[in-house]
Amino acid sequence: MSTVQSMKTPSSYDSGSRSEIKKSKSMFGGDIVRQASIDALRKFHPKFMVKNPMMFLVELGFVITLLLTIVPDAFGSAAPRWYNGVVSLILFVTVWFANFAEALAEGRGKAQADSLKQTKKDLWAQKVTATGTIRVSSASLRKGDIIIVREGETIAGDGEVIEGLASIDESAITGESAPVLKESGGDFCSVTAGTRVVSDWVKVRITSDPGESFLDRMIALVEGAERQKTPNELALHTVLVSLTLIFLIVVVTLPFFGKYLNITLHTAELIALLVCLIPTTIGGLLSAIGIAGMDRVTRFNVIATSGKAVEACGDIHTIILDKTGTITYGNRLANDLIPVNGNSVQTLARWAAVGSHADETPEGRSVLEWLTKHSLSYDRELSEQGEFVPFKAETRMSGIDLPDGRLVRKGAVDAIKQWVASKGGPIPSDLDGVTEKIAKAGGTPLAVAVDDQIYGVIYLKDTVKPGMRERFEQLRKMGIRTVMCTGDNPLTAATIAREAGVDDFIAESKPEDKLALIRKEQGEGKLVAMTGDGTNDAPALAQADVGIAMNSGTTAAKEAANMVDLDSDPTKVIEVVAIGKQLLMTRGALTTFSIANDVAKYFAIIPALFMIAIPELSALNIMGLHSPMSAVLSALIFNAVIIPLLIPLAMKGVAYKPLSSEQLLRRNMLIYGLGGLIAPFIGIKLIDLVVGVFL
């Protein structure tokens, strides 16, 4: 993959999340909320409800109390009709809130899918046949068909470039406006349906049948049609259901104990107690948390093939990162200017700067920065008047044509040598020595020439991206090890590794080294994440627990990976791991909160149930609630409203900070554990103050 490094999309060179900001919508967009409110009602159907036993039980309670509202003495005990009605209403709202949370999360996912769908209009393609080309609809394209796409046309299906070279605008998929170069062979041959050719032409072999394209699968995933509960979600669900059963036993046996004491308990109150005790908060939000976690990844412009993959992110021990493009900029920044043939540094710098004046590439800008750093100047006016010659793959150089006819060029040393030789200029005897030295140190030399004169060499050195060191430091705190893979020799690799602060590195690495490393780490029980884009990365991507393929990469790589980064930004693996952790933390925090809530609810309802028959039990009414009825209603109302109050948290995830497990645990335990213990005492008391007014 290093051969075409300089052609990579510009987004590879900054770690920002520009596209994320661009695509993010307000969390509670009006349409989504409206649709979710309706879907929440639809979810009352028992067919959906049985999947969530906790909420199903609440719905059952709603039906029974509704019945009691109509026939108050259906089960013998006769609580007032209005009381049964209010309990019934609160239970209805509780179920609706939980359904709404899920519908909202799904709705946001669908909105994401819809924006993807817009790119998937019916397209026309020029299909190559034995007799020439015919115009066909994209729906009729099959695997193996060959199409030609010319400038301005949209590519009708996923495929691989087999002939030609073109700039392609992939913004419809990635949100990235700068076009990318695609050519046959190598790792930059894969094209995606819905993207547009902006210059030149390509011949493409279609690699997927209609409905199975990458885009189709992405839409299906994002829509949640294929959503399955993740392993941890299933395990947690089991525990929550068992707690529900335990409380069911507690509540069902309670009237028998009451009977021994000649206390009659109202059905509505028993249902209220049950609903308050079973973990409805986490039960109502569990699936929303999972969907929202996937959605956060999608908003980050990464498509995960399963929730399981996102969950695995949280457990990653080792991240394998390619050096170039991920940790460093590659050999793209001027580190030194070395004159040849007896020229002075000043002269070389002057011409290098003039040649780079209009050059917007990192190489060009870094030359100008080098001059500023060394307090050297060049003739800006002269440069302004010249005509910029951009870098081309064929010429492998760029430069400027000055008005006086002088041609300034910088580029690959052998290209410049050829260019100068063609003008009959001499090749300085010390040039090869300088070039070799730079190459040995792992750098890239760029020769600078004016007409038939070579002035010297720009030493492009690999530079670690700013902020990487800190990020690796954070990862280390979280217990995640980083391993750098590079084709460099061990000496250069060690230098960069030290500079970047990675934990380990593999020098002179071949693709199979990555696979071997992953297997070794997995053999020690570790989970490994990596990014890749080439076909030869595919086995490693498939082997890794989290394999993120770059969208710019080959189809093989994308097929093998369990995530695809639409922005093709390899550093994003770090954030994806963070999102995975955040998903798990959110699930844990809300579970803890939900269970801790039970203490306060017990102290609200238990005294309320028996206070009339056993007045002494009012000593347990530590919140000083107004009356037994208002206590039960307040606890129920708290139990209901806590769900929507926590929806934003479930959607956004709990605040994530890269800390050690110990610090994270203490922090979250304090907020969600202790908070979960205390919050309902305050909440129930406040609700009771209001409810008490009406009773």
Partner: protein, 558 residues
């Protein structure tokens, strides 16, 4: 309470503390020798080898299924044997007092009771059993029952440490030969020295000073006493258990009772720390359990010291002495009540029925939680299960899927734990509700105390404790069969599920520990662990406790 009372409690517990760690290390070296020479091998090695040879036991590792099968089938075989002895004791030898064969449901109950380490006694010890039943039936099971739960505890610990589970028969024999028998022999001699009888002579008839005739029951008491306490069995030779001067002659014997009850169960965390390769892992559990123990003891002693306001009004000031071990006072009586329920022994030197409401709540709480040290072996397995629940519920908060000792807790483990968790409230609450509604005439008290009595009986059965609130007409078929079933399922379901958890965890590839790993060896975890027990374990029983002891307390002290 008097200063002497506090000092006597302090010294007793200090002795327990001092013995716990060395005992734990001894246990680890016996049950987790990993090829190294076991301590005192010169003494026990030959006996063990002989027994292995005699029974054809080979030291091969078993899968969790074969371990469980061996355990259950061995236990059922022993139950059939003892059931036969109890039914036929009237026509079997060693029956000098001519005691008749036992009624079927009572024999059913008694057999299960002793095999499950419960020792709930619906019969009257000295008059219901022949000496043969007492020794071959009762004392025999008093060794094999704790040996069974010892075996499972070590199989479980090995499994979660990623080692093979071991062999049930080896563990069973080893528990008896290297742990229970030697300590019991030493303790029995001490009991004899302290005044407990040890004889096969029949009940003596004496003429009292008033000239009345009195039957004085005696028998092989000391040998039963030592294993009764050491194995957390609790079944007394005499009906009144350790309140009888032959079972508990003086203050020193009371100390010995308490130390023996706590010796093995307090040492297990230390053995565990050694087996999993980190002393800290065990220490944090020990400290957490100690804190719960002290809390329980604090409540019980305070409540008993405060006494009964109804009696205060009658001019009887001071602590509640009704049903107490009057020779030893409130402190040692309350301590005994807390220890016997914390360790799921079930022996009593005080009538728990006459404890103050809150004083009675503590033994109930200990048995409901079964994690305040808990019964030898199974109690500690229960502790580890709660540690796993704590890890599972709060472990996600560090942003990783939960792992315990480097092994992922996944759906299979959580399903098994969920079953174990549900079974306990079913076993306690459902029969309590049935008894209260359908058999109210067998309950000697109306109102709150009646609820406490029934609740206590089933909690004691489910936790395999065996102490009773008494006052129940419990030698009826209903009580015999219902408590028998509760004891049986309370014992064996969790044994099977937890062995399955160990088998499943054992097979998992361990995840390496990093700074991102959820740590189970520090104070933060200790706090979460106690919180989980209180919220998940205790809240389940809050409503019924409110209707029983709490309502009784509040009405008494209004």
């Amino acid at each position: 309470m008097t200063l002497l009372g506090w000092v006597s409690i302090g010294l007793t517990l200090l002795l327990v503390l001092v013995l716990a760690r060395p005992t734990g290390i001894y246990l680890a070296r016996v049950f987790h020798s990993e090829g190294a020479r076991m301590p005192l091998n010169g003494l026990f090695g030959p006996i063990e080898k002989l027994l292995f040879k005699l029974f054809g036991i080979k030291e091969t590792n078993q899968t969790w299924k074969s371990y469980a099968t061996a355990l259950i089938s061995t236990n059922i075989f022993m139950m059939l044997l003892v059931y036969a002895v109890l039914r036929l004791q009237g026509s079997l030898p060693l029956n000098p007092s001519g005691i008749a064969g036992m009624e079927p449901t009572l024999a059913f109950n008694t057999t299960i009771s002793f095999m499950t380490n419960t020792n709930l006694q619906h019969y009257s010890g000295e008059s219901g059993l022949s000496y043969l039943s007492q020794t071959l039936g009762i004392t025999f099971m008093m060794f094999t029952a704790p040996a069974t739960s010892f075996a499972i505890a070590f199989a479980f610990m090995r499994g979660i440490a990623g080692k093979p589970l071991g062999n049930f028969f080896v563990d069973l024999v080893r528990s008896i030969v290297r742990v229970l028998m030697p300590i019991a022999i030493v303790a029995a001699i001490l009991f004899v020295a302290l005044g407990a009888p040890q004889t096969f002579a029949p009940t003596e008839t004496v003429t009292t000073l008033q000239g009345a005739e009195q039957q004085i029951a005696r028998g092989p008491v000391a040998s039963l006493l030592s294993i009764k306490e050491l194995g957390n069995n609790g079944g007394g030779f005499m009906a009144v258990n350790s309140a009888h001067p032959f079972e508990n002659p003086n203050g020193i014997s009371n100390l010995l009772h308490i130390v023996l009850m706590l010796l093995l169960t307090t040492s297990l965390p230390f053995a565990y720390g050694r087996i999993v390769g980190s002393a800290k892992e065990g220490r944090v559990l020990f400290v957490a359990m100690s804190i719960m123990f002290i809390m329980m003891l604090g409540i019980a002693t305070t409540a008993e010291q405060a006494g009964n306001p109804a009696l205060h009004q009658l001019g009887m000031a001071g602590p509640s002495m009704e049903g107490k071990e009057v020779r030893l006072g409130v402190a040692q009586s309350a301590l005994y009540a807390v220890v016997t329920t914390a360790s799921e022994t079930g022996g009593v030197n005080t009538m728990h029925d006459t404890l103050t409401p809150l004083g009675g709540l503590v033994p109930l709480g200990n048995m409901m939680l079964n994690t305040v040290f808990g019964g030898v072996g199974v109690g500690f397995v229960n502790v580890l299960m709660y540690a796993m629940i704590a890890v599972f519920l709060s472990g996600l908060m560090v942003g990783r899927t939960p792992e315990f000792l480097g092994r992922k807790l996944e759906i299979r483990e959580m399903k098994l734990i969920a079953v174990t968790l549900i079974i306990q409230p079913i076993l306690i609450l459902v029969p309590t509700a049935i008894a209260l509604v359908f058999y109210p005439d067998t309950i000697s008290n109306a109102g709150f105390h009646g609820i406490s009595q029934v609740l206590y009986e089933y909690t004691s059965s489910a936790a395999n404790n065996g102490s009773g609130f008494e006052g129940l007409g419990d030698a009826t078929p209903f009580w015999n069969i219902s408590t028998g079933l509760v004891m049986f399922f309370g014992r064996y379901i969790s044994m099977i599920t937890m062995l399955a958890v160990a088998g499943s965890l054992m097979a998992k590839r361990p995840v390496p520990v990093t700074s991102g790993t959820f740590k189970t060896s520090n104070a933060t975890f200790g706090t979460i662990f106690v919180g989980t027990i209180l919220i998940v374990g205790a809240l389940t029983f809050f409503p019924i406790l409110v209707l029983g002891p709490i309502a009784e307390h509040l009405t008494l002290w209004k």
